[in-house]
Protein backbone atom coordinates (compact mmCIF):
# COMPACT_ATOMS: atom_id res chain seq x y z
CA UNK A 1 0.00 0.00 0.00
CA UNK A 2 1.45 3.36 -0.95
CA UNK A 3 2.36 6.13 1.44
CA UNK A 4 2.54 9.89 1.40
CA UNK A 5 3.86 12.53 3.81
CA UNK A 6 3.15 16.26 4.10
CA UNK A 7 4.88 18.92 6.19
CA UNK A 8 3.97 22.59 6.54
CA UNK A 9 6.90 24.95 7.06
CA UNK A 10 7.31 28.66 7.66
CA UNK A 11 6.16 29.80 4.22
CA UNK A 12 6.00 26.58 2.21
CA UNK A 13 4.50 23.09 2.14
CA UNK A 14 6.42 19.91 1.29
CA UNK A 15 4.64 16.85 -0.07
CA UNK A 16 6.28 13.46 -0.58
CA UNK A 17 4.81 10.30 -2.08
CA UNK A 18 6.37 6.96 -2.89
CA UNK A 19 6.76 5.89 -6.50
CA UNK A 20 5.16 2.46 -6.35
CA UNK A 21 2.37 1.10 -8.50
CA UNK A 22 1.66 -2.28 -6.94
CA UNK A 23 -0.89 -5.08 -6.88
CA UNK A 24 -1.90 -7.79 -4.47
CA UNK A 25 0.62 -6.75 -1.87
CA UNK A 26 3.54 -8.38 -3.67
CA UNK A 27 3.65 -7.33 -7.33
CA UNK A 28 5.39 -4.05 -8.22
CA UNK A 29 4.38 -2.78 -11.67
CA UNK A 30 6.43 0.39 -11.50
CA UNK A 31 8.58 2.09 -8.90
CA UNK A 32 8.86 5.56 -10.42
CA UNK A 33 5.32 6.95 -10.48
CA UNK A 34 4.90 10.68 -9.79
CA UNK A 35 1.82 10.90 -7.58
CA UNK A 36 2.04 14.61 -6.83
CA UNK A 37 0.07 16.59 -9.39
CA UNK A 38 0.02 20.37 -9.72
CA UNK A 39 -3.51 21.69 -9.23
CA UNK A 40 -2.67 25.31 -9.95
CA UNK A 41 0.39 27.49 -9.92
CA UNK A 42 0.68 27.27 -6.15
CA UNK A 43 -1.23 24.15 -5.16
CA UNK A 44 -0.16 20.49 -5.31
CA UNK A 45 -2.07 17.31 -4.56
CA UNK A 46 -0.43 14.04 -3.49
CA UNK A 47 -2.80 11.14 -4.16
CA UNK A 48 -2.24 7.57 -2.99
CA UNK A 49 -4.42 4.49 -3.21
CA UNK A 50 -5.93 2.35 -5.92
CA UNK A 51 -4.10 3.20 -9.14
CA UNK A 52 -6.98 4.02 -11.48
CA UNK A 53 -8.90 6.01 -8.87
CA UNK A 54 -5.68 7.86 -8.09
CA UNK A 55 -5.25 9.06 -11.65
CA UNK A 56 -8.91 9.62 -12.48
CA UNK A 57 -9.74 11.54 -9.33
CA UNK A 58 -6.67 13.77 -9.20
CA UNK A 59 -7.01 14.69 -12.88
CA UNK A 60 -10.75 15.33 -12.41
CA UNK A 61 -9.96 17.81 -9.64
CA UNK A 62 -7.14 19.36 -11.64
CA UNK A 63 -9.30 19.97 -14.71
CA UNK A 64 -12.30 21.23 -12.77
CA UNK A 65 -10.08 23.68 -10.94
CA UNK A 66 -8.73 24.91 -14.25
CA UNK A 67 -12.29 25.34 -15.54
CA UNK A 68 -13.15 27.33 -12.43
CA UNK A 69 -10.16 29.63 -12.98
CA UNK A 70 -11.14 30.21 -16.61
CA UNK A 71 -14.81 30.82 -15.84
CA UNK A 72 -14.31 33.07 -12.85
CA UNK A 73 -10.95 34.66 -13.61
CA UNK A 74 -9.76 34.27 -10.04
CA UNK A 75 -7.63 31.83 -8.10
CA UNK A 76 -9.25 29.35 -5.79
CA UNK A 77 -7.95 29.47 -2.25
CA UNK A 78 -6.37 26.27 -0.87
CA UNK A 79 -9.17 26.09 1.71
CA UNK A 80 -11.85 26.36 -0.99
CA UNK A 81 -10.11 23.72 -3.10
CA UNK A 82 -9.81 21.36 -0.12
CA UNK A 83 -13.54 21.66 0.50
CA UNK A 84 -14.31 21.13 -3.17
CA UNK A 85 -12.25 17.92 -3.15
CA UNK A 86 -13.99 16.80 0.01
CA UNK A 87 -17.42 17.40 -1.46
CA UNK A 88 -16.61 15.34 -4.55
CA UNK A 89 -15.43 12.46 -2.37
CA UNK A 90 -18.49 12.78 -0.13
CA UNK A 91 -20.90 12.64 -3.07
CA UNK A 92 -19.12 9.61 -4.57
CA UNK A 93 -18.89 7.88 -1.21
CA UNK A 94 -22.49 6.64 -1.20
CA UNK A 95 -22.46 5.76 -4.88
CA UNK A 96 -19.07 4.54 -6.13
CA UNK A 97 -16.35 5.62 -3.70
CA UNK A 98 -12.91 6.71 -4.80
CA UNK A 99 -10.31 4.68 -2.94
CA UNK A 100 -7.88 7.54 -2.68
CA UNK A 101 -6.14 9.28 0.21
CA UNK A 102 -4.90 12.79 -0.42
CA UNK A 103 -2.67 15.51 0.89
CA UNK A 104 -3.28 19.00 -0.50
CA UNK A 105 -0.58 21.62 -0.06
CA UNK A 106 -0.72 25.21 -1.21
CA UNK A 107 0.13 28.83 -0.52
CA UNK A 108 -2.27 31.75 -0.87
CA UNK A 109 -0.78 35.21 -1.15
CA UNK A 110 -2.61 36.58 1.86
CA UNK A 111 -3.15 33.46 3.95
CA UNK A 112 0.25 31.78 3.74
CA UNK A 113 0.92 28.03 3.51
CA UNK A 114 -1.77 25.42 4.20
CA UNK A 115 -1.76 21.61 4.31
CA UNK A 116 -4.95 19.53 4.23
CA UNK A 117 -5.31 15.83 5.09
CA UNK A 118 -8.16 14.19 3.18
CA UNK A 119 -9.03 10.50 3.31
CA UNK A 120 -11.17 8.23 1.15
CA UNK A 121 -14.18 8.65 3.47
CA UNK A 122 -14.15 12.40 2.73
CA UNK A 123 -12.62 13.35 6.05
CA UNK A 124 -11.05 16.79 5.81
CA UNK A 125 -8.67 18.36 8.29
CA UNK A 126 -6.21 21.18 8.11
CA UNK A 127 -2.94 19.97 9.62
CA UNK A 128 0.65 21.07 10.20
CA UNK A 129 1.91 17.65 9.10
CA UNK A 130 0.26 14.43 7.98
CA UNK A 131 0.70 11.07 6.31
CA UNK A 132 -1.28 8.35 4.52
CA UNK A 133 -0.71 4.64 3.98
CA UNK A 134 1.11 2.05 6.07
CA UNK A 135 3.99 4.47 6.29
CA UNK A 136 1.84 6.76 8.42
CA UNK A 137 2.02 4.29 11.31
CA UNK A 138 5.75 4.82 11.56
CA UNK A 139 6.06 8.38 10.45
CA UNK A 140 3.52 10.23 12.58
CA UNK A 141 5.42 9.66 15.80
CA UNK A 142 8.59 11.04 14.19
CA UNK A 143 6.68 14.08 13.00
CA UNK A 144 5.10 14.54 16.43
CA UNK A 145 8.57 14.72 17.90
CA UNK A 146 10.44 16.67 15.24
CA UNK A 147 7.90 19.17 13.86
CA UNK A 148 8.00 22.73 15.17
CA UNK A 149 6.58 26.09 14.17
CA UNK A 150 8.34 27.96 11.34
CA UNK A 151 10.50 25.13 9.99
CA UNK A 152 12.96 26.20 7.30
CA UNK A 153 13.08 24.19 4.12
CA UNK A 154 16.33 22.50 5.15
CA UNK A 155 14.93 21.56 8.55
CA UNK A 156 11.74 20.19 6.99
CA UNK A 157 13.71 18.15 4.45
CA UNK A 158 15.78 16.71 7.30
CA UNK A 159 12.63 15.60 9.09
CA UNK A 160 11.33 14.15 5.83
CA UNK A 161 14.57 12.18 5.33
CA UNK A 162 14.16 10.68 8.79
CA UNK A 163 10.58 9.71 7.96
CA UNK A 164 11.46 8.02 4.69
CA UNK A 165 14.43 6.23 6.27
CA UNK A 166 12.11 4.81 8.90
CA UNK A 167 9.70 3.57 6.26
CA UNK A 168 12.55 1.84 4.43
CA UNK A 169 13.67 0.22 7.66
CA UNK A 170 10.32 -0.99 8.92
CA UNK A 171 7.90 -1.40 6.03
CA UNK A 172 8.26 -4.84 4.43
CA UNK A 173 7.32 -3.75 0.94
CA UNK A 174 8.57 -0.20 0.89
CA UNK A 175 9.02 1.53 -2.45
CA UNK A 176 12.64 2.62 -2.90
CA UNK A 177 11.96 5.85 -4.77
CA UNK A 178 10.03 8.86 -3.54
CA UNK A 179 8.88 12.04 -5.27
CA UNK A 180 9.27 15.19 -3.20
CA UNK A 181 7.80 18.57 -4.17
CA UNK A 182 7.79 21.97 -2.49
CA UNK A 183 5.19 24.71 -3.00
CA UNK A 184 5.92 28.26 -1.86
CA UNK A 185 5.35 31.82 -3.03
CA UNK A 186 7.59 31.14 -6.05
CA UNK A 187 5.52 28.19 -7.19
CA UNK A 188 6.14 24.45 -7.40
CA UNK A 189 9.59 22.80 -7.31
CA UNK A 190 10.79 19.20 -7.37
CA UNK A 191 13.36 18.47 -4.68
CA UNK A 192 16.00 15.76 -4.59
CA UNK A 193 16.42 14.49 -1.07
Amino acid sequence: MDSSIGIQGKDFVILAADGSASQGGFLMYRKDVDKILPMSEKQILATVGSASDREVFSEYIQKNLRLYELENQIHMSTFGLANFIRKELAIALRRAPYQTNLLLGGTDDSEGPALFWIDYLATLQKVKFGAHGYGAFFVLSILDKEWKEDLTEEEALDVLRKCIAEIHTRLALAAPEWTVKVVDSNGIRVVEL
Binding site: N72, Q73, I74, N83, F84
Partner: protein, 251 residues
Protein backbone atom coordinates in the same frame (compact mmCIF):
# COMPACT_ATOMS: atom_id res chain seq x y z
CA UNK B 1 -42.18 45.64 -40.23
CA UNK B 2 -40.72 44.59 -36.89
CA UNK B 3 -44.16 43.26 -35.94
CA UNK B 4 -43.44 40.11 -37.89
CA UNK B 5 -40.37 39.28 -35.87
CA UNK B 6 -41.34 40.29 -32.38
CA UNK B 7 -43.69 37.51 -31.33
CA UNK B 8 -41.04 34.99 -30.42
CA UNK B 9 -37.99 35.48 -28.25
CA UNK B 10 -36.07 32.98 -30.28
CA UNK B 11 -36.31 34.79 -33.59
CA UNK B 12 -33.95 37.46 -34.83
CA UNK B 13 -35.34 40.40 -36.80
CA UNK B 14 -33.73 41.14 -40.17
CA UNK B 15 -31.80 43.95 -38.50
CA UNK B 16 -30.34 41.41 -36.10
CA UNK B 17 -32.41 42.40 -33.07
CA UNK B 18 -34.33 40.37 -30.50
CA UNK B 19 -37.46 42.42 -30.09
CA UNK B 20 -38.89 40.53 -27.12
CA UNK B 21 -35.70 41.17 -25.19
CA UNK B 22 -35.84 44.85 -26.05
CA UNK B 23 -39.48 45.06 -24.97
CA UNK B 24 -38.53 43.40 -21.70
CA UNK B 25 -35.84 46.03 -21.16
CA UNK B 26 -38.44 48.72 -21.80
CA UNK B 27 -40.70 47.23 -19.15
CA UNK B 28 -38.09 48.21 -16.58
CA UNK B 29 -38.16 51.85 -17.58
CA UNK B 30 -41.58 52.23 -16.00
CA UNK B 31 -40.47 50.90 -12.63
CA UNK B 32 -39.43 52.88 -9.57
CA UNK B 33 -35.93 54.32 -9.96
CA UNK B 34 -32.96 52.55 -8.42
CA UNK B 35 -29.51 54.00 -7.79
CA UNK B 36 -26.24 52.31 -6.92
CA UNK B 37 -23.07 54.12 -5.86
CA UNK B 38 -19.69 52.63 -5.00
CA UNK B 39 -17.82 54.52 -2.32
CA UNK B 40 -14.48 54.21 -0.61
CA UNK B 41 -15.71 51.89 2.12
CA UNK B 42 -19.23 50.94 1.17
CA UNK B 43 -21.69 50.44 -1.65
CA UNK B 44 -25.00 52.29 -1.43
CA UNK B 45 -28.20 51.06 -3.04
CA UNK B 46 -31.21 53.38 -3.11
CA UNK B 47 -34.71 53.00 -4.52
CA UNK B 48 -37.86 55.00 -4.99
CA UNK B 49 -40.72 53.57 -2.99
CA UNK B 50 -43.74 53.96 -5.23
CA UNK B 51 -46.94 54.48 -3.33
CA UNK B 52 -49.57 52.94 -5.55
CA UNK B 53 -52.55 53.23 -3.21
CA UNK B 54 -53.28 54.41 0.31
CA UNK B 55 -55.29 51.23 0.73
CA UNK B 56 -52.19 49.05 0.54
CA UNK B 57 -51.13 47.47 3.83
CA UNK B 58 -47.63 48.19 5.11
CA UNK B 59 -45.25 45.74 3.51
CA UNK B 60 -43.49 43.41 5.92
CA UNK B 61 -40.41 43.37 3.79
CA UNK B 62 -38.96 45.51 1.07
CA UNK B 63 -40.31 45.31 -2.43
CA UNK B 64 -37.13 46.64 -3.94
CA UNK B 65 -34.17 45.60 -1.79
CA UNK B 66 -33.18 41.98 -1.31
CA UNK B 67 -30.41 40.19 0.53
CA UNK B 68 -28.94 37.37 -1.53
CA UNK B 69 -26.24 36.34 0.89
CA UNK B 70 -24.32 37.92 3.76
CA UNK B 71 -22.02 39.65 1.30
CA UNK B 72 -24.33 40.31 -1.68
CA UNK B 73 -27.54 42.29 -2.00
CA UNK B 74 -29.55 43.78 -4.83
CA UNK B 75 -32.20 46.28 -5.78
CA UNK B 76 -34.87 45.46 -8.33
CA UNK B 77 -36.64 47.38 -11.08
CA UNK B 78 -39.42 45.74 -13.03
CA UNK B 79 -41.87 42.89 -12.56
CA UNK B 80 -41.75 41.92 -8.88
CA UNK B 81 -42.93 38.39 -9.50
CA UNK B 82 -40.17 37.80 -12.05
CA UNK B 83 -37.72 39.28 -9.59
CA UNK B 84 -38.76 36.85 -6.85
CA UNK B 85 -37.86 33.89 -9.01
CA UNK B 86 -34.47 35.23 -9.90
CA UNK B 87 -33.68 36.23 -6.33
CA UNK B 88 -34.53 32.73 -5.17
CA UNK B 89 -32.27 31.30 -7.84
CA UNK B 90 -29.50 33.65 -6.77
CA UNK B 91 -29.88 32.66 -3.12
CA UNK B 92 -29.77 28.96 -3.98
CA UNK B 93 -26.72 29.41 -6.18
CA UNK B 94 -24.91 31.32 -3.47
CA UNK B 95 -25.67 28.75 -0.78
CA UNK B 96 -24.71 25.81 -2.99
CA UNK B 97 -21.35 27.48 -3.56
CA UNK B 98 -20.91 28.12 0.17
CA UNK B 99 -21.82 24.49 0.91
CA UNK B 100 -19.24 23.17 -1.51
CA UNK B 101 -16.33 25.55 -1.03
CA UNK B 102 -17.02 26.69 2.54
CA UNK B 103 -16.30 30.25 1.56
CA UNK B 104 -18.51 33.01 0.12
CA UNK B 105 -19.21 32.98 -3.59
CA UNK B 106 -17.33 35.68 -5.54
CA UNK B 107 -19.79 38.46 -6.42
CA UNK B 108 -19.09 38.50 -10.13
CA UNK B 109 -19.46 34.72 -10.34
CA UNK B 110 -22.94 34.96 -8.80
CA UNK B 111 -23.97 37.74 -11.16
CA UNK B 112 -22.61 35.73 -14.09
CA UNK B 113 -24.62 32.68 -13.08
CA UNK B 114 -27.88 34.62 -12.80
CA UNK B 115 -27.21 36.33 -16.10
CA UNK B 116 -26.56 32.98 -17.79
CA UNK B 117 -29.90 31.85 -16.40
CA UNK B 118 -31.62 34.94 -17.82
CA UNK B 119 -29.89 34.51 -21.17
CA UNK B 120 -31.28 31.00 -21.59
CA UNK B 121 -34.76 32.53 -21.64
CA UNK B 122 -33.78 34.54 -24.69
CA UNK B 123 -32.58 31.56 -26.64
CA UNK B 124 -34.43 28.38 -25.63
CA UNK B 125 -37.89 27.15 -24.78
CA UNK B 126 -40.04 29.86 -26.33
CA UNK B 127 -40.61 31.42 -22.91
CA UNK B 128 -40.56 35.16 -22.44
CA UNK B 129 -37.56 36.86 -20.86
CA UNK B 130 -37.60 38.09 -17.25
CA UNK B 131 -38.86 41.67 -17.05
CA UNK B 132 -36.43 42.71 -14.34
CA UNK B 133 -33.33 44.79 -14.08
CA UNK B 134 -30.97 44.46 -11.14
CA UNK B 135 -28.30 46.44 -9.42
CA UNK B 136 -26.17 43.97 -7.48
CA UNK B 137 -23.87 45.20 -4.71
CA UNK B 138 -21.35 43.11 -2.85
CA UNK B 139 -17.91 42.66 -1.36
CA UNK B 140 -15.47 39.76 -1.66
CA UNK B 141 -11.81 39.25 -0.89
CA UNK B 142 -10.90 38.94 -4.59
CA UNK B 143 -12.19 42.26 -5.94
CA UNK B 144 -13.36 44.25 -2.92
CA UNK B 145 -16.49 46.36 -3.37
CA UNK B 146 -18.43 45.76 -6.55
CA UNK B 147 -21.54 47.11 -8.24
CA UNK B 148 -23.12 45.35 -11.22
CA UNK B 149 -26.09 46.13 -13.41
CA UNK B 150 -27.88 43.36 -15.28
CA UNK B 151 -30.84 43.39 -17.66
CA UNK B 152 -33.25 40.87 -19.24
CA UNK B 153 -30.88 40.04 -22.06
CA UNK B 154 -28.48 38.45 -19.61
CA UNK B 155 -25.86 41.12 -20.17
CA UNK B 156 -24.14 42.62 -17.18
CA UNK B 157 -21.43 45.15 -16.50
CA UNK B 158 -19.60 46.56 -13.52
CA UNK B 159 -20.18 50.17 -12.54
CA UNK B 160 -18.89 52.85 -10.20
CA UNK B 161 -22.36 54.39 -10.16
CA UNK B 162 -25.56 53.42 -11.96
CA UNK B 163 -29.29 54.03 -12.17
CA UNK B 164 -32.12 51.97 -13.63
CA UNK B 165 -35.88 52.44 -13.79
CA UNK B 166 -37.97 55.53 -14.36
CA UNK B 167 -36.14 58.66 -15.56
CA UNK B 168 -32.79 56.94 -15.41
CA UNK B 169 -31.31 59.11 -18.19
CA UNK B 170 -31.80 62.14 -15.93
CA UNK B 171 -30.20 60.23 -13.10
CA UNK B 172 -27.29 59.18 -15.29
CA UNK B 173 -26.53 62.72 -16.39
CA UNK B 174 -26.54 63.93 -12.78
CA UNK B 175 -24.16 61.12 -11.84
CA UNK B 176 -21.88 62.01 -14.73
CA UNK B 177 -21.49 65.52 -13.42
CA UNK B 178 -21.53 64.90 -9.67
CA UNK B 179 -19.97 61.47 -9.09
CA UNK B 180 -16.43 61.15 -7.73
CA UNK B 181 -14.59 58.00 -6.79
CA UNK B 182 -13.77 57.13 -3.17
CA UNK B 183 -16.55 59.14 -1.57
CA UNK B 184 -17.25 58.36 2.05
CA UNK B 185 -20.53 56.65 2.94
CA UNK B 186 -22.40 59.81 3.90
CA UNK B 187 -21.47 61.57 0.66
CA UNK B 188 -22.58 58.53 -1.33
CA UNK B 189 -25.94 58.56 0.41
CA UNK B 190 -26.39 62.26 -0.28
CA UNK B 191 -25.51 61.80 -3.93
CA UNK B 192 -27.95 58.90 -4.27
CA UNK B 193 -30.66 60.97 -2.58
CA UNK B 194 -29.93 63.83 -4.94
CA UNK B 195 -30.29 61.51 -7.94
CA UNK B 196 -33.56 60.09 -6.63
CA UNK B 197 -34.95 63.56 -6.00
CA UNK B 198 -34.22 64.44 -9.59
CA UNK B 199 -35.65 61.25 -11.11
CA UNK B 200 -38.71 61.31 -8.86
CA UNK B 201 -39.26 64.86 -10.06
CA UNK B 202 -40.25 65.73 -6.55
CA UNK B 203 -39.99 69.14 -4.94
CA UNK B 204 -40.38 67.48 -1.56
CA UNK B 205 -38.23 64.37 -1.37
CA UNK B 206 -39.13 62.74 1.91
CA UNK B 207 -37.68 59.72 3.65
CA UNK B 208 -40.87 57.63 3.36
CA UNK B 209 -40.65 57.74 -0.41
CA UNK B 210 -37.12 56.34 -0.50
CA UNK B 211 -35.24 53.30 0.69
CA UNK B 212 -31.49 53.04 1.29
CA UNK B 213 -29.26 50.05 1.85
CA UNK B 214 -25.63 50.36 2.96
CA UNK B 215 -23.29 47.44 2.33
CA UNK B 216 -19.87 47.65 3.97
CA UNK B 217 -17.10 45.23 4.86
CA UNK B 218 -14.51 44.88 7.56
CA UNK B 219 -11.63 44.09 5.23
CA UNK B 220 -9.57 42.44 8.02
CA UNK B 221 -12.15 39.88 9.07
CA UNK B 222 -14.01 39.70 5.77
CA UNK B 223 -17.30 40.24 7.57
CA UNK B 224 -19.82 42.16 5.49
CA UNK B 225 -22.74 44.06 6.97
CA UNK B 226 -25.93 45.20 5.23
CA UNK B 227 -28.07 47.87 6.77
CA UNK B 228 -31.34 49.42 5.67
CA UNK B 229 -31.33 53.04 6.79
CA UNK B 230 -34.11 53.86 9.22
CA UNK B 231 -36.36 56.76 8.21
CA UNK B 232 -35.15 59.19 10.90
CA UNK B 233 -31.52 58.83 9.88
CA UNK B 234 -32.45 59.28 6.24
CA UNK B 235 -34.62 62.31 6.99
CA UNK B 236 -31.71 64.01 8.70
CA UNK B 237 -29.45 63.48 5.67
CA UNK B 238 -32.19 64.63 3.29
CA UNK B 239 -32.55 67.81 5.29
CA UNK B 240 -28.83 68.46 5.04
CA UNK B 241 -29.07 67.85 1.30
CA UNK B 242 -31.99 70.30 0.97
CA UNK B 243 -29.95 73.03 2.65
CA UNK B 244 -26.95 72.37 0.46
CA UNK B 245 -28.90 72.46 -2.80
CA UNK B 246 -30.76 75.57 -1.66
CA UNK B 247 -27.48 77.42 -1.24
CA UNK B 248 -25.73 75.83 -4.24
CA UNK B 249 -26.03 78.80 -6.53
CA UNK B 250 -24.96 81.35 -3.93
CA UNK B 251 -21.66 83.16 -4.26
Amino acid sequence: MSRRYDQSTTTFSPEGRLHQVEYAINAINNAGTCVGIMGRDSVILAAEKKQLSILLADPKSSEKMYKIDDHICCVVAGLSSDASLLINEARLTSQRYLYGYQEPMPVESLVQDICDYKQSYTQYGGLRPFGVGFLFAGWDKHNGYQLYQSDPSGNYSGWLAATIGENNPAGKSLLKSDFEENLDTRSCIKLAAKVLSKTMDSTDPSAEKMEFLILSADEETGKVSQRIMPDEELAEILQELQQETATEGDA
